[in-house]
Symmetry: C2
Subunit: 299 residues, 2 copies
């Protein structure tokens, strides 16, 4: 009997700096309703899905910066998402900026959570591969201040047993490193969820625009095949605060094939009926990845 | 000033079991002459380029098996290749079956060497990721006895400074593992040479034929990009001993782009003028791969 899970990548068009969080939540809810209608049981939202990609903006004041961060999850503003998950029996991956209180310290992370159909947080991941810079760079067309605004993730790349599937999470730039997939592959991961915000131009050096999409594709196709896992990758895209974000949300099979792909730079749901046993023969016959028991992480 | 090196992938059509080694050497020499005419200074021959892909044949007798192996390099039969290299000032990568005498033991390896324009062996690599099985499998359409005929390579993945370029080697199945590229990437590799023999069907499990080519492409495209390196991959191809070998010899840029690709299943040379500085900004800006000094390995 096959283990099929219908999953959706819930791509978001731009979120402008002036947009209210309430308006964003309404868009997320609309996509969740659409996913439910399409028979999905899991949807993947982008990285930093509640705000504009704020690391492009320099701010001096911590108070101002912290307006972009969530102090609790759910909060009164985000609770409707959790309530909808229960009502629609939907699991979801959500990327957001997390303000965390660790012992005496305040930490800030670029975080994703997996929420189950009971409205509880199943797992949490904090981005490891932070791109960008800490300092203000006046000659750049826009800033990329992830290294300034975020601490490096301190939860590793755990996996979770959820809906009869071994699931893992990653965020944006993580997808360029083969180690991201491998660390989860060694834990027998079957489905990796990944949200991203990728600008169509690179601040550091001249690079053809089309290469951004090629790189996005090949690293995930290879990572999926080399570890026998599904990957669901969801963009925030379009012209946001005057900067263009690449789309290209897609679902990649353990064969390395792209089986679903977004075509717009707007809110768009793409779905696929994923056979979670498809990766098994690649893992066991082509490679010799060990079978391990999924770890359970307390969040 | 750019560091350009014109390289060729010297694809071979089939070598039948009955073909003489002298006839194979003539084909290799023809391809070397053609590469010289095309302005190449380095060519890459396939894996096991002197014989049929003999691991598909079961033999009981060690004496029979050892007929496929080279006891010295060069030998009287292979010496014309080395002499041509000097005459044409050509470097070449050659895959062959190596019979090695290590202390008291005889070892057998699936080996490649890099030979310089002085006709000396610059470096040697012995295949690490041996696919296949040791036992006879009567139900298989053909055997894949690499695990029976070869010992696991014991030289790691070293790199060599040759022609002002940091070069590494790999063989066939090695290309499916991200670690292959990474181990050389951490040594700042700029050009990886890889010969292969890949059957169009998989003995282990049903897999669409087209996936073999997709996997071949995506693992190398990702490996090239993730480590900022050129890859030259050369097939033995066509119907050999009644079994079909996939072609698809190609040259992959550090951008992950396939910049040259064979179109036949015969002897065919493809070439590209490779800028060895192209990978630098990917290594240093996109990733943060360390700059190390190329190691020098005595063979």
């Amino acid at each position: 009997m096959s283990r099929k899970l219908r999953v959706g990548a819930a791509q978001l068009g731009p979120i402008q700096l002036a947009d209210s969080k309430a308006s964003v939540i309404r868009r997320l809810l609309n996509l969740m309703e659409e996913a439910h209608t399409s028979g999905c049981h899991l949807i993947v939202y982008p990285e930093l899905a509640l705000t504009t990609f704020f690391p492009r903006h320099w701010r001096d004041s911590t108070a101002e910066i912290d307006l972009w961060f969530e102090r609790e999850m759910p909060s009164s503003e985000t609770r409707p998402l959790f309530e909808a998950a229960v009502r629609l029996q939907m699991s979801f991956y959500l990327g957001y900026a997390e303000l965390a209180f660790e012992q005496e310290d305040i930490r800030r992370y670029n975080t994703s959570i997996l929420v189950g159909p009971d409205g509880r947080v199943v797992g949490k991941y904090r981005k490891v591969h932070l791109p960008g810079h800490r300092d203000f760079r006046p000659n750049y067309p826009f800033q990329q201040l992830e290294k300034r605004y975020f601490d490096v993730g301190n939860l590793g790349f755990p996996v979770w047993w959820h809906r009869d599937v071994i699931m893992g999470m990653a965020i944006c730039n993580d997808r360029r490193w083969p180690e991201t997939y491998r660390v989860m592959g060694l834990q027998d991961v079957e489905l990796i969820m990944l949200g991203y915000n990728t600008h169509t131009i690179n601040q550091y050096h001249a690079e053809s625009k089309h290469l951004k999409m090629l790189h996005h594709h090949i690293v995930m196709q290879a990572g999926a095949y080399q570890n026998g896992t599904w990957i669901v990758a969801t963009a925030k895209t379009g012209i946001e605060d005057g900067c263009e974000l690449m789309g290209g949300s897609c679902i990649v099979a353990p064969t390395g094939e792209i089986v679903a792909h977004a075509v717009t730079q707007e809110d768009e749901l793409i779905t696929f009926d994923c056979d979670m046993d498809l990766g098994g023969q690649i893992k066991r016959n082509r490679f010799n990845l060990p079978i391990t028991v999924a770890s359970s992480t307390t969040v």
